[in-house]
């Protein structure tokens, strides 16, 4: 028989304003097993925890029920408090009377009644709890970073600097990501390549970092501290060990019609290519869809000119299996497809471009060698119009509901840079709001207006019409002036919304990390655990978690690294004791449970059992508690009820059902 203490938290007025906490405590006194019940202002506070310790001592408690906020919030707190007070931490159950009661109900009577029932269910459960001891599992001292943009690079460098091995898996032929495509960065107007390239080189040179470019994560299994990951290294057709990076092959390659991904399709590249001059590794790849040799068997020019003999047309995709203690997702973003926004004529005119395309046009290594030119006729534009919020802040199923966060600042940057370099060019910016929270951000935007004379117009653009003379008419509105505005422009730049890289959907499934309705990875807690995913051992870095600029990305990358370092620094992890176990007297050995176990945690042994005096050898299911994650799939599959789950046993759940339905 348990001796249960019930503690009802007021949570200031969060609970007490809607739930009559005293009545809840009083009601619990008549519940089976309850010997003590009390209420208190803040149970999670130090004095609240002290109260628990005192009650345990005075009333010889064996189990605790805390009626408070969600167990996701403070279950760990109360378990620790119980342990301190001398009770097994798994003898604690939380009745969630805040998120599930006081915060969603207004009627005090109703809320109080519901709180009593929730508490009753928790009491019924604790009556059947038994002490659990957590196990230990070792930690593989290596981290995987998925994505080699600035987020992945920074995370990898920080982890490696702490002395742990890191692998970076990057989908494209080079690390560098979106930042490598940028020309200048706000609000300091640093040259993007100048600050990124050294970090890329550091990564390549770091003895603790292994870079797998042109590679993808194929499969993930395991759990925190013990992940096993299959990495697919796509065939590069170039031997990285031999290649000297001389670039002759690219020069000689006769197939030069492919669109350069790096230049957003604004220029061409050869079939054998490195995406950009500073690529890391500086080893080209052969695009099999473009290569004449791979398509027709003829050509082979690159092989002939390669002095290092690095070309290998027979290379195949390769799967590498590696083990990791922690995984960081840093898959970044892409610009949305603009098909839903044809009113801006992006598909109808070459002179309507996205801001990322403008970055390439402004960049000295870009398609126009850094000269501001129209893509249609190479002429220098005289009137440029920027349109903000294209596809952001949309509630119409065409675009994204969120603010892409970086557009206001990069548009101010673009406007300023253009006005600086080409003072005779008129620049107008249509905006809905200018959002500039960030250090020196608003000052930066004001400089664009005040010092550089950028014409900011509050209002959205309705349509861009290409005119017979090759110009573009921008039909907008100036809401402050109360007039429709028509601007004849040579170039229109769209601040297209950003979205998580498409690969994240599948990756989230592989990692069992959850994603939100916009495909951003969900953090474990939006405020308190922003760089951890809800899946232990999986961390988030950069835009894959939500829109952010470079400084924020780098801070988050460092934070994720710190979390990884904290994890890898441990030699072993405490495992969840809520694992499955099978009753050897009831087990039929039928293998149904092993069929549904996602972790391969169930094996079978021929074991001699003593079933009420009958000794016989039986085939019995055995659970490896280091592998078991406690999902419970096996328990339902088991026809005889031999398989049960610690912490969520059949009897406990049924007791809760009974208590709720009573």
């Amino acid at each position: 028989m348990q001796r249960i203490g019930v503690f009802v938290c007021h949570c200031g007025s969060n609970i007490a304003a809607t739930v009559d906490v005293k009545r809840v405590a009083l009601a619990m006194l008549s519940e089976n097993g309850v010997v003590f019940a009390d209420d208190y202002q803040y149970m999670c506070s130090e004095s609240g925890q002290l109260k628990i310790a005192q009650a345990v001592k005075e009333h010889n408690l064996t189990g605790l029920v805390i009626c408070s906020c969600s167990p996701r919030m403070h279950e760990a707190t109360f378990r620790k408090a119980a342990e301190k007070a001398g009770i097994n931490p798994y003898m604690v159950e939380i009745a969630n009377i805040r998120e599930q009661c006081s915060w969603i109900h207004k009627d005090i009577e109703q809320a109080t009644q519901k709180a009593i029932i929730l508490a009753r269910a928790a009491v019924a459960k604790v009556n059947l709890n038994s002490p659990l001891i957590a196990g230990k599992s070792p930690v593989k001292k290596r981290a995987l970073v998925i994505g080699g943009g600035i987020a992945g690079i920074q995370t990898a460098l920080d982890i490696a600097d702490a002395g742990f091995e890191v692998d970076i898996v990057e989908k494209t032929p080079s690390i560098g990501g979106k930042m490598s495509q940028l020309d200048k960065t706000f609000p300091t107007l640093d040259c993007s390549a100048c600050i990124l390239t050294p970090k890329m080189v550091d990564c390549a040179a770091h003895e603790k970092i292994t870079i797998f470019t042109y590679s993808e994560v194929e499969n993930v299994s395991g759990f925190v501290g013990n992940f096993t990951v299959d990495i697919k290294k796509k065939a590069r057709y170039v031997d990285s060990a031999k290649c000297t990076g001389c670039g002759l092959c690219q020069e000689k390659c006769p197939s030069k019609k492919a669109l350069s991904e790096f230049n957003c399709g604004l220029s061409n590249r050869s079939a054998i290519y490195t995406p950009f001059a500073q690529a890391v590794p500086n080893v080209p790849v052969i695009d099999p869809l473009q290569c004449i040799k791979l398509k027709t068997g003829k050509c082979g020019l690159c092989e002939k000119v390669c002095a290092a003999n690095a070309i290998d047309y027979t290379q195949k995709d390769e799967i590498i299996t590696r083990e990791y203690g922690a995984i960081v997702v840093a898959t970044g973003f892409d610009v949305i497809n603009l098909d839903n926004y044809d009113e801006y004529a992006y598909s109808q005119s070459k002179d309507v471009i996205t801001s990322l395309e403008l970055e390439r046009i402004m960049n000295a290594a870009g398609p126009t060698k850094g000269h501001l030119e129209r893509m249609s006729d190479g002429k220098a534009p005289k009137n440029i119009v920027f349109v903000q919020c294209v596809g952001s802040r949309c509630a119409d199923n065409k675009g994204k509901s969120y603010c892409s966060k970086i557009c206001c600042m990069y548009t101010a940057k673009h406007a300023m840079l253009i006005r600086d370099k080409y003072p005779d060019v008129n620049v107008s910016v249509f905006y809905i709001d200018v959002r500039t929270p960030g250090k020196n951000f608003d000052e930066f935007y004001r400089r664009a207006v005040e010092e550089y004379g950028v014409n900011y117009i509050k209002g959205q653009v309705g349509k861009v019409t290409p005119e017979p003379d090759g110009s573009l008419t921008v039909h907008g509105v100036d809401l402050i002036d109360g007039r429709q505005v028509k601007i004849s422009a040579d170039m229109v730049v769209l601040a297209a919304a950003i979205e998580p890289n498409a690969s994240v959907r599948q990756l989230a499934t592989q990692l069992t990390a959850s994603i939100d309705t916009n495909n951003f990875l969900t953090e474990a807690h939006p405020k308190l655990r922003p760089v951890e995913s809800p899946t232990a051992g999986v961390f988030l870095s950069g835009v894959c978690q939500g829109p952010k600029d470079i400084p924020e990305t780098v801070s988050q990358a460092g934070a994720a690294a710190a979390k990884v370092i904290g994890l890898l620094a441990k030699n072993e992890l405490t495992t969840n004791p809520c694992t499955a176990h099978s009753d050897e007297l009831l087990c039929n050995g039928c293998s149904a449970c092993a069929n549904v176990c996602p972790y391969g945690a169930i094996s079978y042994q021929d074991k001699e059992v003593n079933d009420h005096g009958i000794r016989e050898t039986r085939r019995i299911a055995m659970v490896n508690t280091a592998l078991c994650q406690g999902c419970g799939a096996c328990t339902v599959t088991c026809p005889s009820g031999a398989m049960d789950l610690n912490g969520f046993s059949n009897k406990q759940i049924i007791a809760e059902v009974d208590a709720i339905c009573r």
Binding site: M73, I104, H105, T509, T522, P598, V636
Partner: protein, 147 residues
Amino acid sequence: MPMNSTESFAPKIVAFCCNWCSYAGADLAGSSRLAYPADVKIIKVPCSCRVNPMFILRAFEKGADGVIICGCHPGDCHYSTGNYYARRRMTLLFSMLEYIGIEKDRVRVEWVSAAEAVKFSETMNSFVLQIKNLGENVRLGDLRCKS
């Protein structure tokens, strides 16, 4: 069903929520103050695949008027595959309940992610309404109805 009896009838509704998605979704509904009727009482389970059909039958036997199971969206299960098994089990169980003449609207499975607070609250509101329209559960207490 006359309107007034629907109004005064407070159904007993048991909601099994998986720890990783739906329970978190319920928490978010709470912190977002998205109200749903107090008739819903949540039982936390690690995964929707932990829900044994016996729990559901048990709830009905003990007087529940509706049972809803919420889990991660298929493909997003914290344990990779749990909800796929749950989906098959519940599909068959619900079909059986309908087959033996239990109103199939008394049971529901809904996939609610940790981010879908609105969906959680809307789901619970609509489920409670659905159960109120059905009225009290009289059939599934004891199928044999022995005196």
